[in-house]
């Protein structure tokens, strides 16, 4: 190694040789052994990814094999029943989930977009309350879903709102649960719009809100919509908080938003799965397949929309 630096003056020669040795110790390829290690590591990484992807395929395959005999119209159009086990279905739970999702969308679009616009475009980051809001949203995104169920139980079912065990309580609970992710996704979408767009509009005489409403918001809209769609797909599959706000009730009639019992698709699946009769376990698997099919379509659409809306300015 020293030979390579022999044209350098004395001390530099030593230094360079030392550095060379250090580098060699740390980095230089170990010949064939190094190549084997590289290949092994690559194989390990690909194995890890394969395991993760196999998990998805395995869940889908299991649900299909287990539930394939019940993939019929009854699954969607028939209500739950403990008597007609072979023809029981999910209609009531699908209606419940649709009502919950309707409420979720109505709440998260204004609240999510408003909070994101406030934090990205209007908030003065040097003020402590704005930093509190930011940190608070980040933390809220990590609160376990079952804790939101407790919140719904204490505030919507009983307490200040006292709606009882109705679909509205489930809807409000799930909306609050997904709200932080909508805000975070919307903020990213707004951040991706270059400030020059806003500044150009302001320079032409637009007021702050006109510039935000007519320039920034349309440019950020596809990204924000992606966030909303992903939140809705999460809301469809969320079961834990709904267990606490009444969705586990075995109802056989279509729900009314503010009155009477309700059910939701993932919760009814859980309910069926816990019953000892084999027909119900098959029905649960068929329900899983139905839910996964809907979610994969929704998620793929969101991912496609995001890829399409990614533009370079």
């Amino acid at each position: 190694m020293a030979n390579a630096f022999s044209n350098l003056p004395g001390r530099a020669q030593f230094a360079a040789a030392g550095a060379g040795l250090a580098v060699q110790n740390r980095f230089a390829s170990d010949g064939s052994k190094g190549k084997v290690a590289n290949t092994l590591f690559l194989a390990l990484m690909l194995l890890a990814l394969t395991v993760a992807i196999t998990a998805i395929v395995a869940i889908l395959a299991w649900a299909f094999v287990e539930g394939r005999t019940r993939l019929d119209g009854d699954l969607i159009f028939n209500g739950p029943s403990t008597v007609n086990r072979a023809t029981a279905g999910y209609s009531v739970a699908i209606l419940g989930t649709l009502q919950i999702i309707g409420g979720v969308i109505a709440l998260i679009i204004p609240l999510g977009a408003g909070a994101a616009l406030y934090l990205e475009q209007f908030a003065d980051k040097t003020k402590w309350w704005n930093r509190v809001i930011e940190l608070n949203i980040q933390n809220l995104a990590g609160v376990p879903s079952i804790v939101f169920g407790i919140l719904g139980l204490a505030f919507f079912v009983r307490g200040p709102f006292s709606w009882g065990l109705v679909a509205a309580a489930g809807s409000a609970t799930v909306a609050l649960l997904v709200l932080p992710t909508v805000i975070l996704a919307s903020r990213e979408a707004i951040k991706a719009v270059p400030p020059s767009i806003l500044e150009g509009s302001l320079a032409l005489g637009a007021t702050r809100w006109q510039a935000v409403w007519r320039q920034v918001l349309p440019a950020a809209a596809p990204g924000m919509l992606t966030g909303v769609i992903l939140a809705v797909s999460r809301a469809i599959g969320e079961a834990a908080p709904l267990l606490l706000v009444g969705a586990l009730t075995f109802v056989t009639f279509a729900p009314n938003f503010f009155d009477g019992g309700y059910s939701a698709l993932p919760v009814l699946i859980y309910n069926y799965a816990g019953r000892p009769q084999e027909e119900f376990q098959i029905l649960a698997a068929a329900g899983v397949l139905l839910m996964l099919a809907v979610l994969i379509v929704i998620n793929s659409f969101a991912i496609w929309l995001r890829a399409r809306s990614e533009r370079s300015w």
């Binding site: 230089a28 990484m45 998805i56 609240l111 408003g114 809001i133 609160v143 376990p144 702050r208 834990a240």
Partner: protein, 315 residues
């Protein structure tokens, strides 16, 4: 002289200000502030919901018993309120989940960030997102009806007991947090400046060495944040443990081959049972919920700190 300049300046400032007070804009601003403040109200409501019943609860159950007794049997004939068994249940699930998710997630992240060609990365990331989006009820049912029987069939010499298994619940939870760990760690590694990698390559380092000895150490705080976030998610996971670990025994049990109760599963099963509102048993939901909230809050704060650190260094 100087005072005339001052007055001139202030008068020009006055003309710059709009004559129109724009009440509409102010109303919109107020509305936007309100929407952002909703999240603070939600946090306040969570804290109120969880902590309000606690003084009444701890007036009847000593806090010492809650944190030291090793049996958890509210609602039983002779109830004991020691939270340890369900905390240990949660810990077994979390440790198993991390044993599965850390290698899988980190290796996937290194591949995505350092090895994968752009096209491969663009296909794999959405696929991982779909895994993250699979409802936990589905994963739980799969683990209960297929994974656990399959593992028992493959390893009949292990001491499998009953229908439930805490270890299998942990494996299933581990699978669903892989995408989270992979994506946070991938973000951290991609934010390591190119110059660091190029410097190492220029010194003759192989790809493996650059990945493991330059990029991973440089992104270390972000990678730790990914692990902590994954652990926090595992602590709060409900449906999988409810289905796979069962509602289990209320005594301390470290055996991953049998069922056990976790904090989340306790809350879910207790809240769906028949209990009188306002009773001591009802209040346990809030006591356990408060503990769960504090644990995950601490973990999330740690993760946010670590994420902030790697952002500070390189941006």
């Amino acid at each position: 002289m100087s005072s005339s300049v001052m007055s001139e300046r202030s008068s020009s400032l006055r003309t710059l200000r709009s004559d129109n007070p724009r009440y509409g804009e102010k109303a919109i601003f107020a509305f936007l502030f309100f929407t952002a403040a909703v999240s603070v109200a939600v946090t306040t409501a969570i804290v109120l919901a969880l902590f309000q019943p606690l003084p009444g609860f701890f007036a009847e159950i000593s806090i010492v018993e809650f944190f030291t007794a090793t049996e958890w049997s509210p609602g039983y004939a002779r109830p004991i309120y020691g939270v340890w068994p369900i905390v240990v249940g949660t810990m077994i699930v979390v440790v198993t989940a991390l044993l599965v998710a850390i290698p899988l997630g980190l290796l996937s992240a290194i591949y995505l960030s350092e090895y994968a060609p752009n096209a491969v990365r663009k296909t794999i990331k959405p696929v991982l997102e779909i895994l993250e989006g699979i409802p936990t009820v589905a994963t739980g049912l799969f683990a209960f009806f297929w994974l656990r029987p399959f593992l028992e069939y493959m390893t009949p010499w292990l001491p499998w007991g009953g229908l439930f298994s805490t270890g299998v619940a942990g494996i299933a939870v581990g699978l669903i947090i892989v995408p989270l760990i992979a994506s946070v760690a991938d973000d951290a590694m991609r934010s390591v400046p190119r110059a660091l990698r190029e410097g190492a390559y220029a010194l003759g380092a192989s790809r493996l060495r650059v990945a493991l000895q330059v990029v991973v150490p440089a992104a270390f705080s972000g990678i730790i944040a990914a692990f902590v976030l994954g652990a926090s998610r595992a602590v709060g996971e409900t449906m999988i443990v409810l289905l796979v670990a069962g509602a289990g025994s209320p005594t301390l049990n470290f055996n991953p081959f049998e069922g056990v109760q976790t904090m989340t599963a306790y809350i879910a099963s207790r809240a769906t049972g028949e209990i009188a509102v306002g009773s001591l048993v009802y209040d346990t939901i809030f006591a356990v919920g408060a503990l769960l909230f504090l644990i995950t809050l601490a973990m999330n704060m740690i993760a946010i700190r670590f994420v902030a650190r790697f952002r500070e260094v390189y941006e």
